[in-house]
Subunit: 460 residues, 3 copies
């Protein structure tokens, strides 16, 4: 069992590297540091010797046959140029570290192409998510996980052991067929953020226009007043909180929908529709967008007194009798809501999330989250209460923004309350523990059920 | 040595799963991805086949006897229903993944109950802290540690190796007796935060009432003025900084006490009283609570000019001659203190804390921490200096809040200074390096002594 | 192959610990928890038995010979006192856990001294970066990496396996010669932050003095007005943004320089000058300093309306006709810039940085970073535009601060634009893919090239 040995006397292990790019240089440096013997195969060794650590032996391509395990650090489009090494590489483990240039939906992946070229060698896909920099600096910074896949378990195991020596954490991704996914990983650009960001922007534009009509267009048309100066700050500052509150509602809406869906179906063993699944997995991102808007709203509000244009109004306002003092309360509520949201944001940091257990995570993301939603709604209610009933606010018959904004949050809060009704709640618990309407027997289920149930329903 | 083999040819390894809940489904998915053969035992295979990956074979319970290693993903209360599998499971490793429903102080744990039911099998406790979600999504998100314990080292080792294949980090927690603790882990709800949060709330309530008496009750009784409008913001804004400063002092107080205790006892080899140990381990949480209050205080102060009720006063104040301009200084000092506190908060994030070495951590948490405490105290001093000596401030003979607030911080700062006196400091160093009053010989001690000494004394 | 066995039946494995300090106590506790047999060697066992877990056997030094693997938890200066154990320790793996007292530039390291004393034993360096606390609390908190090095691969492997059992992640640092570096690690005090912090302070002092001359000295000399009250807040608030913007420019300047250097040399295979390399690796720290200043600037600006001294001006200003309302725009731009900077700051948290892939990281740090730089510059431009051309602003012939500040950012932005010119951009890409002016053939290079290229040039 060579791999085992290789693990215990790496010095005995000879690692080959084909190609002399930055990646192979960093890899060589790292392997040498781990006490492995390194042989680098190059077309023009002389030119590159200087760039490699002196412990590494830089020589011609054919030298590969000394190695037990060979890294192919060559552009995929040049794999064909290696064919003459086929005999030298036969029976060896080839590690394909290459990346695609754009996301591919179907194969063959680079690794599979390599496998086709070298049928006698066993190809392992991996290290493509690891940057040359991480290799060089050592795994202390940068992600430490290395995703591996191969059809040859022995080859994969020996690469996994090498990973561990180098201080990386190998993750077995199964057969070579998953190499396509692994090659796509470094090419994604925040796939999970697309929907939330689009939502945020759409809401922002909608509310910005809606408010402009209210605050700028209406006074201009009716009174011919020029209120353009409101665009950069006032309007923005009314728009952000609207977006924040609606987004926060959108975080908890899918959970509520899922719950009602389960109640209606009377089972949890039928999949949710895709759009709902998709939505449920995006709640964290929705929440963070909401937090960002709320934070910007806070900064903007605090800037109000700094505005030149504000001073004048300030004076006028100041002289008129100060009534409704109690309404300062809405400030306090707002600040608290923001405080809670920041807590949620902090606990959604990977490193923090990893230190809390499931119950704590649920408590913060669900219980505190609903508190934040409630306070945010309250903040808006107190602020807008008396405005709501002044006909003067209904420009062009459009209701004031905050009425629009409140619809969704209130719906979520109320339907959430509905779920707390003993009968409903009890039935929901049963279902999450595997009970089914169809037949009234209980199956033996994993104790994680309720957890996963929670997962699908009540946490960000 | 099967486990070793199992590590290198997992495909050869057959994993059994009893139960068809979400956890077993996710587990099956993950194991299949790692190239293991999976056999799922169910009472009604037909109903569940659809829910499992097609590579996994869903069959009747008895199929378990094909497996080398069996996961028991069944509610503890149904363990008894598995007894008929005893012969099939004899000699196999059984992994108990179940969780308790509430925290148990003494056993038997679920795992121990399982072990009693299957004396011929060797039970391993683990994976109960891993959510079905983490299993499914792969260990990239969610905590990667899997706590394991068992009385059978071979069984434990093979499970540990399986863990590693799946990309998790197994942590050996010793014998099955520690399964109780492992089962309790997911049930805790921020145990380390209880004391600090209670302290914060208690202090908040106390200072809030104290300030209300000063600012609202007193003017009403004496002058009949209605100052209720001060409750939501002014009072809160005077209360938060008080709490923040006292809490920050409470972070450093235990360290100072510990130091004096060690000096007095003349040794470090006698344990601290429990309350002190408890306190020392909670300093980080105390610090974060203090930071939260300080941050809220900042936001509240920045909101002051926005208050409707403020405008009127503003004008009155504005016209009166502006004296004591220098006292704007207290703002600057306050901001700096907040800046330092944020640094401390950031470095107490797990991921950041892991990247700094011991000396850096101590520097930030101790040195910078004391700077923050000093600046906070200064902020309060400058702010309240001239108020302190106006008889008018002593309503009902009660001293103004900030005098009360200053007691603790000043005590801590002064006694810390005392510890810097050469003689005291030198003696303390000796003690921390193992010197003892009792007998004046030095023992051979680990070089970590002084570190751990520091740990007990001067860092959050 | 003992190490392998030791991994699977640790109970069979006897671990010896010499020394009875805090480190050895915590180590003993941890090893016992992992099911190892622990023998502690002490000069005066009786005194220390009480301090160790009862499973551990505390006995006289000679007991070491029972152990397969011995931890030497003794101060380096006392190694000589262990010489009499030489026969007992012969052929065993000795783990040196000691730390230096100050950073050593050349050896021999403690580990090497130990190796000289015990030539028949094989010394492994490690665990010195692990605090007693982390050992005791278990690796759940604190860094989990354990750096190991040794000249004996077998010994190193068995220690690595022990590490894994204890839940730590061993990192192989090669031969014992690297023990010096490992021993220095815990002694560094933010080496990577030195330059950035010095830069920040220097810039702060410079701009603070420059502004004081403008705002305080000039009015005093010319008009005899006493503006000292401006020192604590106004001046600081003008200084911070200046520092922030210049520092942000300094983040992107080296990248631009590197690009031009590569263009000029026509190759990437010649090393950058050291100062540039050094600078390139410090960009993250420069960025965070800049963010800190920007944040403080924001807080200060928000404090302005709270200043007593402000009220008076406020009134005077308020009554004068309010013109240039549009210029409120600069507030909005500034807030956006700050928002982007916060995003950059968050993504530079280790745990977040590890979850994004290379492309995402580059997008945030490079693309968004340049947006932040652009907005910051715009913020300053709008703010200072009309002031720039008032002769009144040129006190003592010195240009107003913001003109000085703008030089660097504009240079960076413009030269970055230059790099986007198709011809230049195309040539740069070629070079980063390994093309060379000297000879026009392309070598086979790793697909990571362009990544590493990016790394050197366009991301923080």
């Amino acid at each position: 069992m060579r791999p085992c040995t290789s693990a215990y006397e790496p010095s005995a292990l000879v690692i080959g590297i084909l190609g002399t790019g930055d990646f192979s240089r960093s890899l060589a440096r790292r392997l040498v540091a781990c006490g492995c013997r390194v042989v680098v195969g190059s077309r023009t060794p002389s030119r590159f010797v200087a760039l490699f650590p002196e412990e590494a032996e830089v020589t011609h391509m054919e030298a590969a046959n000394q190695a037990d395990l060979v890294f192919v650090a060559v552009y995929p489009e040049h794999y064909s140029t290696l064919v003459h090494l086929k005999p030298a590489l036969a029976g060896k483990a080839l590690v394909d570290v290459s990346n695609g240039l754009q996301i591919k939906q179907e194969g063959p992946s680079n690794a599979q192409q390599l496998a086709d070229l070298f049928p006698e060698s066993s190809v392992v896909k991996g290290f493509n998510t690891t940057s040359a920099w991480t290799l060089q600096a050592g795994p202390r910074d940068g992600s430490r996980q290395v995703l591996l896949c191969s059809d040859d378990q022995m080859a994969k195991s020996s690469v996994m052991q090498l990973c561990r020596r180098m201080g990386f954490i190998p993750v077995d991704m199964g057969l070579l067929s998953s190499s396509l996914e692994i090659e796509n990983l470094p090419l994604y650009l925040f796939p999970s953020w697309r929907t939330p960001i689009i939502c945020t922007l759409a809401l922002f534009i909608f509310f910005y226009l809606y408010n402009s009509v209210h605050e700028v267009l209406h006074p201009y048309i009716t009174g011919g007043k020029n209120k353009l100066y409101k665009l950069p700050i006032e309007i923005v500052n009314v728009t952000f909180p609207s977006v924040a509150l609606v987004m926060l509602a959108l975080v908890y809406l899918p959970g509520v929908i899922a719950a009602f869906l389960q109640l209606w179906r009377g089972t949890k063993y039928t999949r949710f529709p895709d759009w709902l699944d998709h939505w449920l997995t995006r709640r964290k991102q929705f929440g963070l967008c909401s937090f960002l808007c709320a934070a910007l709203h806070a900064v903007y509000s605090l800037c109000l007194p700094m505005r030149k244009s504000a001073r004048f109004q300030l004076l006028n306002k100041a002289f008129e009798q100060v009534r409704r003092r109690s309404s300062d309360l809405y400030l306090s509520v707002g600040i608290m809501a923001l405080g809670l949201l920041s807590l949620l944001a902090v606990t959604s940091l990977p490193s923090v999330a990893n230190t809390v257990n499931w119950r704590e995570f649920t408590f913060i993301q669900s219980t505190l989250g609903y508190c934040a939603l409630f306070m945010g709604t309250l903040h808006t209610l107190i602020f807008g209460w008396d405005r709501a009933f002044l006909a003067a606010q209904y420009h062009f018959g459009l209701p004031p923004t905050f009425l629009l904004v409140l619809i969704l949050p209130l719906t979520v809060l109320l339907s959430r309350l509905a779920l707390f009704l003993p009968c409903v709640n009890h039935r929901l618990r049963q279902i999450r523990r595997g009970w089914e309407k169809s037949r009234h027997i209980r199956f033996t289920l994993s104790s994680e059920d309720c957890f996963n149930g929670l997962e699908n329903v009540s946490n960000v």
